[in-house]
């Protein structure tokens, strides 16, 4: 059995077991109801885990989504009634859909802002729901609440608590399965990248806004489902069950269970529901114990426990697997050692043209009327003293910075205003001065992320593993492993990037930069932070990389011998302006270039 099916099948088996136990009256109605609450809490925990644990967004409005699901269900039941067994599927569907839509609306501020601001915005939504939406008499019945009868599913009457429990468990199994699938497809990896750094994510070609909205959508859909199931279980729904405190409590419970860990968050939510019922002396203490645990956990491990343990495990594994090997930094990495079928490129055609770009930061000219050109397959240097505007120009080319004036053309198309993830898809990849990898994801995930734009299946297709998405994933995985093998790091494919040395991370970054078979790679000081031994091989690697992937290079570098070895021509940038260009050896002897680097001769 594939591993991703293990937990869902186990949960489904529990559903069957509780159904039988309920039918034979071995399980009391009261017990079944309590366990059902725990299951629903587990589903809600998964919804919050998806948003916070995977995508790194924060929601203080989770109980509002839950309440929405409940009251939509209440509305359907009280207005349409059972309707020949249609009431149940209709109410579930509407709860899911409306939960998804509202969560997207709540998530809108997340397009621009995160962290503190997102917390404030979702807090405000929760407060508005609490005081306004849930105060609408027709929707919530205010103090008296809304009565929801036990539903009918086709010919069956889900009258007993045990049948409802089994019903909810099936949904838990489905959500769990989809959640597992999500984290094995490109959309899940995109979330991990967004959690870490949105700029890095979009340099990999991830459409950040769209993926963030999808995370809110999925989060709201699952929470709406939980709300609907809750309504059927509790039978009388009152607004106080969905107050702000409840949102906070679930957030706390999920963090205590461990953000990012399905088992952790579901177990934590289930236990905090069950234990106070089973051990009455705990009543009232649960809401003291949970936050106390949260404080202790986060003060000691700000990233949460799963993160902490994963880091420890990976560091240990790294050490173990390196035993008997010579120093890894001294290994001769053989990136691009393998001959590849070259992408057929029109020889010596114009690839990138930057025309009169100017960028200002608060009155300061960072880049001043700079123009440059890179022809296909060429290797071009971009040198100049610190603060000359080289990285800013890179940011303009890759779409992280909007120029005040000027245009950028790629293969003849004006891309000046195209978002950065679209440029990645067009074939411009880049590295960063500070390593631009998702440090809390594995090497394999990073290399597969780098192929994000080449895996063009949709989320539904990926979640259901249809339409050849598995085949595409397998291909991308094979390609990733091959590249890792070429840089000599295949043994560490399943470890997190953060446990590697900076030199090794640089190699992974290079591998990522070519994984998507780009037409142009922008390299921002690739030798920075590398051990001298590794840096020595860099020129050779870059030359082979250029040949074997038939990609053009634009290289920012302070280490002039590297530029000389790799590049045919170079541009020199000083105080935002191009002061020289031409063959490297000639250019670096020009007096104005020497002056820019060394200062005015006295």
């Amino acid at each position: 059995m594939k591993r991703e099916y293990e937990a869902p099948v186990f949960i489904a088996a529990l559903a069957v077991m509780f159904f039988v136990l309920g039918a034979t009256h071995a399980l009391s109605s009261a017990q079944a109801a309590i366990i059902d609450y725990a299951v629903i809490a587990g589903i809600l925990a998964l919804s919050l885990n998806l948003l916070m644990g995977y995508a790194g967004q924060i929601s203080l409005a989770q109980a509002s989504f839950l309440g929405l699901g409940s009251f939509v269900t209440g509305f359907v039941v009280s207005h349409l009634g059972d309707n020949h067994g249609l009431g149940l599927p209709l109410s579930l569907l509407l709860s899911v859909v409306i939960g998804a839509i509202v969560a997207m609306v709540v998530g809108l501020p997340a397009i621009r802002l995160r962290g503190v601001y997102l917390a404030i915005a979702t807090f405000a939504f929760a407060d508005a729901f609490d005081n306004y939406i849930f105060n609408i008499q027709k929707l919530t019945g205010l103090g008296s609440g809304v009565t929801v009868g036990r539903p009918r599913l086709g010919p069956w009457h889900l009258a007993t608590d045990a049948t409802l429990l089994s019903f909810a468990l099936i949904f838990l199994a489905i959500v769990w399965l989809l959640d597992t699938r999500l984290m094995s497809i490109r959309h899940g990896r995109a979330l991990l990248a967004i959690r870490e750094d949105e700029q890095i994510a979009s340099s990999f070609g991830v459409p950040v806004t769209q993926e963030k909205m999808r995370a809110f959508l999925m989060c709201g859909a699952i929470a709406g489902l939980a709300g609907s199931l809750y309504a059927y279980q509790v039978q009388v729904i009152v607004k106080s069950s969905y107050a702000l405190q409840i949102s906070l409590f679930y957030l706390i419970v999920v963090v205590v269970g461990g953000l990012g860990s399905r088992y952790g968050v579901v177990a934590s939510a289930a236990l905090f529901t069950l234990l106070p019922y089973w051990f009455t002396f705990l009543k009232g203490w649960d809401i003291i114990i949970a936050p106390a645990l949260l404080i202790v956990t986060l003060v000691r491990n700000p990233g949460g426990l799963p993160d902490h343990f994963q880091r420890l495990r990976d560091a240990r594994e790294l050490k173990r697997r390196r035993e008997g090997e010579e120093d890894i930094a001294g290994l001769r990495p053989k990136i691009v050692g393998i001959e590849r079928d070259a992408v057929v490129a029109p020889a010596d055609a114009e690839l990138l043209r930057v025309e009169s770009i100017s960028v200002t930061f608060g009155g300061l000219n960072a880049v001043n009327d700079a123009s440059l050109e890179v022809r296909s397959g060429a290797a071009v240097g971009l040198i100049g003293p610190n603060g000359a505007g080289k990285s800013t120009l890179f940011n303009v080319i890759s779409g992280f910075e909007q120029p005040r004036s000027g245009r950028v053309f790629f293969e003849g198309n004006d891309i000046t205003t195209a978002p950065s993830h679209e440029r990645a898809a067009l074939g411009i990849s880049r590295t960063f001065q500070h390593v631009g990898l998702v440090r809390r994801a594995t090497l394999l995930d990073n290399l597969m992320l780098a192929q994000h734009t080449r895996l063009d299946y949709g989320a539904i297709v990926g979640l259901t593993a249809l339409g050849g998405s598995r085949r595409l994933e397998d291909e991308s995985r094979a390609n990733a492993l091959e590249l890792l093998d070429e840089i000599g790091l295949a043994d560490f494919a399943d470890l997190r990037v953060e446990v590697l040395s900076t030199g090794q991370q640089r190699l992974v970054e290079l591998a990522c930069a070519v994984a998507s078979r780009p037409r142009l790679v922008l390299l921002d000081e690739p030798s920075a932070g590398m051990a001298p031994a590794a840096a020595e091989h860099l020129a050779e690697q870059l030359a082979r990389l250029r040949k074997n992937f038939s990609t053009a290079l634009l290289l920012i570098e302070h280490h002039i011998p590297l530029v000389t070895a790799v590049c045919d021509t170079t541009y020199v940038l000083d105080a935002g302006s191009v002061i020289a260009s031409g063959p490297v050896r000639k250019v670096i002897k020009q007096p104005e270039v020497v002056t820019a680097y060394m200062g005015e001769a006295v």
């Binding site: 790194g56 924060i58 203080l60 809108l108 501020p109 621009r112 802002l113 962290g115 503190v116 601001y117 917390a119 404030i120 915005a121 807090f123 405000a124 939504f125 407060d127 508005a128 609490d130 005081n131 306004y132 939406i133 105060n135 702000l244 405190q245 906070l248 409590f249 957030l251 706390i252 963090v255 009232g284 203490w285 809401i287 003291i288 949970a290 936050p291 106390a292 949260l294 404080i295 986060l298 003060v299 000691r300 700000p302 990233g303």
Partner: protein, 297 residues
């Protein structure tokens, strides 16, 4: 349509704004120093109200004694947050610190329920028995509102003097921009952090003590929704890192609250809806608020 003369609405708005300003100043102070929203600040207010109620209403202590001990508890909580959260989490991601303060808010909520129970309680005003008040139209501005305005004004003024006229205060302001420059002024970072968290807790406590008597009853978690949220909006309007901005924001929020409350019925939750709209507009149009520095990209 307004259900009261306009000057009544405006003055009530100012009185509310004064209390929100206390909250907003604490929020802004913490945000400047630690880049964190202290979500526990409102609940520290509720806790202070409970402690004061327990001493004054249940044990017949004089108001001043109850209030001072309540503030001592608030200050202690603030110190605890500095010592056991802010200090060890200096290097932690800011979101983690923020979630930890949510944990503190909830912990206080849980403790309040355990110690004082879920039922609403009444904190008497320090002026009970006096029917004195300033008549504004049909509305009587009771002493508690006047006190709130005076206290808030005095604290805002005192804080402004402390921060701009003393060496220590300048160190606090400087450390928000650059911890190193505060050290150069001879102000240890630890001291700045302790001051910030204790001051924020005390501001929360004072706001709680001033609000509880005006509400008729108060209950666990009330201040987190009622005044902390409004303080948060005020601070956001001001730009999160501007102290004058926080005061201006608080007055804006106080007036909105007052007008929305009089135009629509309070119970309908319209003020919350308006505040939500304001938050969204500020975030979309100008995250730096009215007086804040540019939001770091």
């Amino acid at each position: 349509m307004l259900h009261a003369p306009i000057q009544t609405v405006v003055i009530l708005g100012l009185a509310k704004g004064a209390i929100f300003a206390l909250m907003a100043l604490g929020i802004t102070l913490t945000y400047r120093a630690a880049r964190v929203i202290n979500f526990a600040q409102g609940e520290i207010g509720t806790t202070a109200a409970f402690v004061a109620w327990w001493l004054i209403a249940k044990h017949g202590q004089p108001w001043v004694v109850g209030a001072l001990l309540a503030l001592a508890v608030a200050g202690l909580i603030g110190y605890g947050m500095h010592r056991f959260i802010a200090l060890p989490m200096r290097e932690a991601p800011r979101t983690s610190v923020m979630i930890t303060t949510l944990g503190v808010a909830f912990l206080l909520f849980g403790i309040e329920l355990k110690l004082f129970g879920p039922s609403p309680e009444t904190l008497p005003t320090p002026f009970s028995g006096s029917s004195w008040g300033i008549h504004v139209g049909s509305f009587v501005l009771t002493p508690i509102y006047i006190t709130a305005m005076l206290v808030a004004g005095a604290i805002a003024g005192g804080l402004a003097l402390l921060l701009t006229r003393t060496r220590f205060g300048l160190g606090v302001l400087a450390s928000a921009q650059d911890p190193a420059s505060a050290r150069l002024l001879g102000i240890p970072a630890n001291l700045v952090s302790a001051f910030t968290w204790i001051a924020a807790a005390l501001l929360g406590g004072i706001a709680g003590l001033l609000v509880a008597p005006t509400q008729g009853v108060f209950f666990a978690f009330q201040m987190s929704g009622l005044i902390f949220f409004r303080g948060l909006v005020a601070s956001l309007i001001g730009g999160l890192d501007s102290l004058p901005g926080a005061v201006v924001g608080a007055i804006v929020v106080g007036e909105i609250d007052s007008f929305a409350g009089f135009i629509f019925n309070r119970s309908a939750g319209v003020p919350e809806l308006v505040l939500l709209a304001i938050i969204l507009v500020v975030m979309v149009v100008r995250p730096a608020g009215l007086l804040g520095a540019e939001v770091a990209a």
